[in-house]
Amino acid sequence: MNYYDINSLNQSIHGTLSSLMPEGLAITLEGIAVGLLIIVLYALLAIVLIYMERRVCAAFQCRIGPNRVGGRGGLLQVPADVLKILTKEIISLRHADRFLYNLAPFLVILASIFSFACLPWNQGAEILRMDIGIFFVLAASSIGVLGILLAGWSSNSKYTVIGAVRSGAMIISYELSIGLTVLTMVLLSGTMDIQEIVMEQEHLWNIFRGHIPALLAFCVYLIAGNAEANRGPFDLAEAEQELTAGYHTEYSGMHFGFFYLAEYLNLFITAGIASTLFLGGWMPFHIPGLDGLNAVMDWIPGVVWFVGKTFAVVFLLMWIRWTFPRLRIDQVLTLEWKYLMPLSLVIVLLMTLCVIFGLVL
């Protein structure tokens, strides 16, 4: 049924390597290769996302966007920016806490890469797989807020502290909504293993299986995920007009680049988790009963499905970002604690009832 399962490929590579060298060495080499793969993919996706953001944002503002560097489409604009940022000096501040100041970007990028490694790219292409996968994603992505708080605190600047505290208050609040909506989908799937969650949507995607509660949970997840990724309308941690750049004001060069990378990859991860939980991850679009359609859909590789769905959700998030004005910190917290959190509790209850009484499809 699944033509693009790469488990057998993985096993044959592992078998070949193990026959050439001790198994421990083979596993180490595979680990390094996969790690490099993740990092390269991470950087490439960041370039794609930044380019997409600039073009989409331009279209939402009736502009063209980058279109000079690298021919008509401006395709080389972002690579050029990346090269520029790589050559910039990493400044050190006089009264900064040097150790924490240098540590913070790595914590942010670490959290981001951890969650990135959990995404289900294809059947057999899971990188980190564990029974509590989705739980791990929630836990790992929370390291990011520590990095943001440290960055703000250690830079010894009022802008960064205000930005970091805002960001901390916001991320910790919206974590609740994210946790509750994820819990809703875990209730529906009956497992926390990301691959299992995907496999279990073989007949129908969760957003259709869970109908009303799943749809509501999807909306709440998108809002909370946008906040989690520190993106507009919740970008008050950066708030260019008031705080210059918020928590990463004092960073330069590649340290700033790390924050920037992590911001865009968090967008991708948020969208990736959304597409895993609600839209079936790499699972092709199946409708029970329509075997012809299902067979045609199976011909499209899982990775195409996953990336396609994720970018669709990314577009949705960009649409939200470039539509709404930034919220104040009190409005952000009101939205979470008075509106989204009660709603997500209701959704969890509703989903539980649906699952108990067998009302899901």
């Binding site: 939402f60 009736c62 502009r63 539509t323």
Partner: protein, 158 residues
């Protein structure tokens, strides 16, 4: 109970206004960009209004001679002293003395584009063309003598 009702009304109005916002931005998303890509569109879609004041120009008659009679009204009306007229006094065949334009110094760098000189001219001898591409590398090149053909030459944009 009233606050309970208000809470749900808040939900409803909030969602409605958010949906309206999303709809509006999607409408804009599907519009064509309004950006003008300037150097590329110079000869295609660039539109400069006819009345745009780009730079001053001497109007010539059908013989190619300037209509200017060197009366100096424009020079007197210029608030910035942008215009300096040099004139010779010549004698016409009828025996009358007359001024004749020798040089029309116009400092583009200090021009306000107020059009007072054009308003003041009794003969319609000067006008503003809509040639806006006035950038040069040296300040001296902004000091023009409009009696010289190379300084009086402007491009008329559509």
């Amino acid at each position: 109970m009233a606050t309970f009702k208000e809470y749900f009304r808040g939900w409803a109005t909030g969602l409605k206004s958010l949906a309206t916002g999303m709809g509006t931005s999607m409408k804009v998303f599907r519009q064509k960009p309004v950006t003008e890509e300037y150097p590329e569109n110079r000869h295609t879609t660039l539109h400069i209004p006819e009345r745009h004041r780009g730079r001053l120009r001497l109007v010539t008659d059908e013989n190619g001679q300037p209509r200017c009679i060197a009366c100096g009204l424009c020079q007197m009306n210029c608030p910035n002293g942008t215009i300096q007229i040099e004139a010779d006094t010549v004698e016409t065949p009828e025996g009358r003395k007359r001024k004749q334009l020798k040089a029309y110094h116009y400092d583009l760098g200090s021009c306000l584009y107020c059009q007072l000189c054009v308003e003041a001219c009794p003969h319609g001898a000067i006008e503003f063309s809509n040639d806006f591409e006035n950038a040069v590398f040296e300040r001296d090149r902004l000091r023009l003598d409009l009696t010289k053909p190379e300084d009086n030459r402007c491009h008329d944009w559509k």
